[in-house]
């Protein structure tokens, strides 16, 4: 992964139900740093993530990842290129154990081909051992050892978020889009999560994070983008963006309309 690898959006537009949900958004996000995306509710942040990951089709505009145009690639193919995302509401495989949840994320498993299962059992078995080892590493990294063998439906919300992250790590990502990773997570777990993100970033993994917890995000991110009403209204360091009058107005405006309602 070159140091110049980045995620570029150019004049991205999306209208829905009469609203311009994404209004000519252009940005360049480094794929090796931690970048944040903030904005009041309804600003279009989740839609932007959806557009990047391929879940939301665009009306116009281009998205490039590492200089490759993503427009004609579907969500599955974008994921295969190392651009992965989490969802606001975690989607674990409820009936699989935490270990199995992690194992299933690994790509290119010979064991997922039936012919290999029956005709090359030794190969399948050795790769499984490798995967198990890697699963163990990720479990240790994310401190999930206590629930490693529990079913995903039995673990806490915060642990589910860690599991989501862990699952992405198993796929050897190049850049991860995190959708509100701290929402509903208790402070202790949130700190742990932030630590992990920092550690992983130190290892070269880029993050693009949507988050409402401005404090946590400003401690993590090197750069922030701010959106309001579908448009980009500011970007820069956390200090710059949070003191930007447009950004403050957007948040206060949102609060005002909430207070009035």
């Amino acid at each position: 992964m070159s140091a110049k690898c980045s995620l570029e959006l150019q004049h991205v537009k999306k209208a829905w139900g009469g609203l311009q949900v994404l209004d000519d958004v252009s940005m360049t996000v480094s794929a090796s740093a931690i970048t944040g995306l903030i904005g009041p509710n309804g600003a279009g942040k989740s839609t932007l993530f959806g557009a990047i990951s391929g879940n939301v089709p665009l009306d116009s505009g281009t998205i490039r990842f590492d200089n490759e145009v993503l427009d004609r690639l579907d969500a599955c193919e974008r994921a295969r290129r190392g651009l992965l995302r989490t969802f606001q509401v975690p989607r674990p495989f409820a009936n699989l154990s935490v270990r199995a949840n992690l194992a299933v994320a690994v790509r290119d498993q010979p064991g997922e081909s039936l012919s290999q299962v029956f005709f090359r059992p030794a190969l399948v078995a050795s790769r499984e051992r490798e995967i198990e080892a890697r699963v163990g590493e990720v479990i240790d990294t994310l401190n999930l050892r206590s629930v490693a063998d529990s079913q995903a439906s039995q673990i806490s919300g915060g642990q589910l978020k860690l599991l989501e992250l862990g699952r992405l790590l198993m796929t050897e990502p190049r850049m991860i889009l995190l959708d509100e990773p701290f929402a509903g997570v208790n402070p202790v777990l949130a700190d742990e999560l932030a630590e992990r993100i920092r550690e992983l970033n130190a290892g070269g993994l880029g993050f693009f994070i949507v988050e409402h917890d401005l404090g946590a995000l400003s401690r993590l991110a090197a750069t922030l983008f701010a959106m309001d009403n579908g448009a980009l209204i500011a970007h820069g360091t956390p200090e710059e963006v949070l003191s930007d009058p447009h950004v403050r107005a957007a948040y206060v405006g949102a609060e005002d309309s909430r207070a009035a309602a």
Binding site: R80, F93, L96, A100, R107, I131
Partner: protein, 294 residues
């Protein structure tokens, strides 16, 4: 008495294969297959036709199994992009179209009259010996299928199937493609159902379209739910209970001779329907399944 027990076990073994087939497709992969009887029918008719044309019974079996498996491919291709409810109705339609073709293409299948005289293997062993040998054949098939399925389910492929069942969109977002795995699950299940069909045809020695009505699909659904969705042992147990139910209702007729055969069939249908409803409402994981499984 012993002869009757052997017959029950053979029937139970055939239903066990059907239940295992459905459990792979629904219990492990989440495919709501309402057309199982279609694959059963293709296996039965395929094998019967080939054997009646003079080829060895083993060839008949092979043709039955392969035809059922091959038929799962277009069904898979069409239906796998559909949501649960649409998939269910489309597969139901498929099995009815299969039956329709069997009824109407009389030049091939003798239509509603059916195909009598399907050869039974082991004829040289005499009546009692042939039955016992057939039971051994059915048991052997079950053992092989159970071993194969256990291997499949315990492998990374099986893990992928379960992930697809639990949350297909997440599987896609991880960069994996579910349709291929789902088609494979459907095809393997169809092959097993085809095997069951061939075993059935050569045991009963005549095949008739009325043996392949949708009710058979739902017998198997009931057996699977009753025994426990997603567990091999559950499938076997459920099939056993199903056969006991089906045969048990015949005993009632022997005890109360004034009950007509037609009425017995209706009572049996009511029983199956009620059991399906009751289990779906109160014990959807079955008697032996655990609540954390869906």
């Amino acid at each position: 008495m012993l002869g009757y027990l052997v017959a029950l076990l053979i029937l139970g073994g055939i239903y066990a294969l059907l239940t295992i087939s459905l459990d792979l497709q629904y219990g492990h992969t989440g495919l709501v297959n309402f057309g199982l009887v279609g694959f059963f029918a293709v296996g039965a008719y395929g094998s019967a036709l080939v054997a009646l044309a003079g080829y060895p019974i083993a060839v008949g079996f092979a043709v039955g199994i392969c035809s059922a498996a091959l038929l799962a491919l277009p069904i898979g291709g069409l239906a796998l992009r559909l949501r649960d409810d649409y998939f269910a109705i489309v597969t139901l339609g498929f099995s009815e179209v299969v039956r329709l073709v069997i009824v109407n293409e009389e030049w091939l299948t003798k239509g509603g009259l059916g195909l009598p005289g399907v050869p039974r293997p082991f004829a040289q062993l005499g009546v009692g010996g042939a039955e016992a040998a057939y039971l051994a054949l059915v048991v052997a098939c079950n053992v092989i299928v159970v071993l194969v399925i256990r291997r499949v389910v315990g492998s990374p492929f099986g893990r992928l199937l379960q992930a697809i069942r639990d949350n297909e969109t997440t599987v896609v977002s991880l960069g994996k493609s579910p349709p291929g795995a789902k088609v494979r699950a459907l095809v393997i299940g169809a092959a097993i159902a085809g095997l069951a069909g061939a075993l059935y045809a050569h045991y009963i020695t005549f095949v008739v379209p009325d043996q392949f009505l949708p009710i058979v699909t739902f017998y198997v659904w009931m057996a699977m739910i009753l025994g426990g969705v997603g567990r091999l042992s559950g499938s076997l147990a459920g099939a056993a209970v199903l056969v006991l139910l089906l045969e048990g209702t015949r005993f009632v007729r022997d005890l109360v001779p004034s009950v007509l055969a037609v009425e017995m069939a209706s009572i049996r249908l009511i029983l199956i329907g009620l059991l399906l409803i009751v289990f779906v409402i109160y014990r959807p994981y079955g008697v032996f399944g655990s609540p954390s499984r869906q």
